[in-house]
């Protein structure tokens, strides 16, 4: 088998710059890209290196150019008609080609279903290590290696991973965790177009159809307020109360894994290690005991409110405000109290 290898004694000093691989769909940039740019800037500054964003696409130059407004030193626009729609091989091959040519020191991708699909293939092609689904990135003060921290064992344990002998150091980063970069009117970076040597026969999958979902979109990542339900709701009907409260506070509906596993609500609503990671201003946990795998996805909320019948539930240790009581009594009373206090727009 002719394949890339690691541990080939490459000179680490030959690698420069921090790269973010942007995710775009039909010309729209995914929010995780802006989060990665925010984090990438911090890493580039502590390494005294430059920050570049890579945008693969066919007709995405305008969107690619917009990224220069986020304090980015360079945008590489990988332009090819075969990159119009996502394909694992088309994207992985052309991104790998650019990496091998320019030799970045750090490469970050969003840990989305697309990023997690192509990142291992890119690492496999360029011959380096890859750390999945990181929630914290730092630069080691001594030797400048990238410290990549991520939850393991369902969030019970945090592990910091390093890639000491191979470059680039590659991570996928969990969406919703890093802070977004700020938009600036002025730009100082440049856009460079890169034409990959991609051939049609190298893409061995065909995209037949994109199925548009007619369901209402659940946007937990950008929600300012989330009202979540857990096993304490006792039955699927319990989500009617959760929904009513969510509507009242202009929030989205979240859920613990238990309710998703029980089929009470769709996976799109799941918050936690195997669901979505959120950082709203307010998170209201209704009947959620606070299993570590749930906490892994919501403990970064600014304010956490917990309502649970069991005074010993672990959620009461991580909340700001707790109410020990019955959901069926407390939620309607909260709605009533909000109505009494007048209207609350945020």
């Amino acid at each position: 088998m002719n394949r890339a290898k690691v541990n080939q004694g490459n000179n680490l000093a030959d690698y420069h710059d921090v790269w973010v691989i942007a995710e775009q769909n039909e010309g729209k940039i995914h929010p995780v890209t802006i989060e990665l740019v925010g984090e990438g800037r911090k890493l580039a500054d502590s390494l005294a290196k430059k920050l570049a964003v890579v945008v693969p696409g066919a007709d995405a130059e305008d969107e690619a150019r917009k990224l220069l407004h986020y304090n980015v030193d360079k945008v590489y626009y990988i332009k090819h008609p075969l990159l119009k729609d996502f394909s694992t091989e088309g994207y992985a091959l052309s991104i790998s080609e650019l990496i091998l040519e320019k030799q970045p020191e750090v490469v970050l991708l969003g840990a989305t279903s697309i990023g997690r699909d192509i990142a291992p293939r890119i690492a496999g092609k360029v011959g380096t290590g890859l750390t999945a689904d990181c929630t914290k990135l730092e630069v080691d003060g001594e030797d400048h290696k990238l410290l990549q921290t991520r939850p393991a064992f369902g969030g019970n344990l945090m592990a910091t991973i390093v890639c000491p002998k191979n470059r680039p150091q590659m991570s996928t980063v969990r969406p919703g965790v890093m802070e977004k970069a700020a938009y600036h009117q002025e730009i100082h970076g440049k856009l460079e177009i890169f034409i990959p040597s991609l051939k049609e026969e190298e893409i061995r999958t065909v995209l037949i159809e994109k199925v548009k979902s007619d369901k209402k979109k659940v946007n937990l990542i950008d929600a300012k307020v989330i009202v979540s339900g857990g096993r304490g709701l006792k039955a699927p009907e319990g989500f009617a109360l959760v929904r009513a409260l969510a509507e009242k506070v202009n929030g989205e509906v979240g859920s613990s894994r238990a309710c998703v596993d029980a089929g009470w609500i769709e996976h799109l609503h799941q918050v936690g290690q195997t669901g979505t990671t959120v950082r709203p201003d307010l998170y209201i946990a209704c009947g959620i005991s606070g299993a570590i795998q749930h906490l892994a996805g919501m403990s970064e909320a600014k304010y956490i409110v917990a309502i649970n019948k069991d005074p010993n539930a672990p959620i009461f240790k991580v909340c700001d405000y707790g109410i020990v009581g019955d959901i069926n009594e407390v939620i309607p009373a909260m709605i009533e109290a909000i109505d009494k206090n007048g209207s609350f727009e945020i």
Partner: protein, 262 residues
């Protein structure tokens, strides 16, 4: 149709507890299970075999006790099981694990579909499937939630955050399964009897594989663990007191209103 399913035996992370003093996992009494997504992969393979006929091999890497997971897969209906077990494999990261699995798949040979679970609940990396496909130089479709084989092609519905993609590819290819793909079957009584009354799990060691030793095990792994720790998540919590739910709810809403949160 010849299908190879890669499975991993994992501790049930719902049951995992941490020794707060030492920051280490308490594994005693924690049940070992077939990784849930891998069970969907087994079912996906068996369902294809039910329709098209063929042969399903389950493949795992791990210590000798991982045989148990493979026996369960045999009881579900798999035809053949191979365990890759050797000290030289210990400490492998996703790169090294994929290298070993790819070498074993090459040794088995003649496959149409390689099936993996999307990710394992202990590591949650989702990297071993795609890296194995890369090393085998075959296409992949991850996050598969629906599969249909027609002739020499497979049509897959794949989850994305933008809505589902329907993708077609020629075999051989690698698929990773998510929970939505199917409901794994229970082993039949006959299957259980057959799997557990015989020792049909083949055990392969390093000597059975054609492999570059510089790419496997702890030394060959490009990534390693720098440190691990228990996340600290305790806050100063205020439990709101009151005569009844109504009083508590009103007090809570007043606080949230003061903070301009509602």
């Amino acid at each position: 149709m010849k299908i190879i399913v890669c499975v991993k035996q994992v501790p049930d992370t719902n049951e995992v507890r941490i020794n707060q003093e030492t920051g280490t996992l308490i594994r005693d009494g924690v049940p070992s299970i077939i990784n849930p997504d891998d069970k969907n992969a087994i079912e996906g393979a068996l369902a294809l075999k039910d329709i098209h006929g063929g042969h399903v091999t389950v493949l795992s890497m791990g210590p000798p006790q991982a045989k148990e997971a493979l026996k369960e897969a045999l009881a579900m209906g798999a035809d053949e099981a191979v365990l890759l077990s050797d000290r030289a494999f210990a400490g492998s990261d996703t790169w090294a694990t994929s290298t070993i699995l790819a070498a074993a798949i090459e040794a088995i040979g003649g496959y149409d579909i390689i099936f993996c679970g999307r990710q394992a609940i202990d590591g949650d990396t989702a990297q071993v499937g795609p890296e194995t496909a890369e090393f085998l130089n075959i296409p992949q479709v991850t996050y598969a939630k629906h599969i249909k084989a027609v002739g020499d092609r497979v049509q897959i519905t794949r989850y994305t955050e933008y809505g589902d993609y329907v993708i077609e590819a020629k075999m051989p290819l690698l698929l990773t399964a998510i929970k939505e793909l199917n409901e794994p079957r229970f082993p039949s009584v006959r299957g259980i009897f057959k799997a557990y009354s015989t020792d049909d799990v083949k055990v392969w060691t390093l000597d059975d594989l054609k492999i570059d030793m510089t790419q496997i095990g702890l030394k060959g792994s490009p990534t390693n663990v720098f440190r691990s720790f228990v996340p600290v998540k305790e806050k100063n919590s205020l439990i709101i007191e009151g005569q009844n739910g109504k009083e508590k709810a009103a007090a809570l809403i007043n606080k949230l209103t003061d903070l301009k949160l509602v």
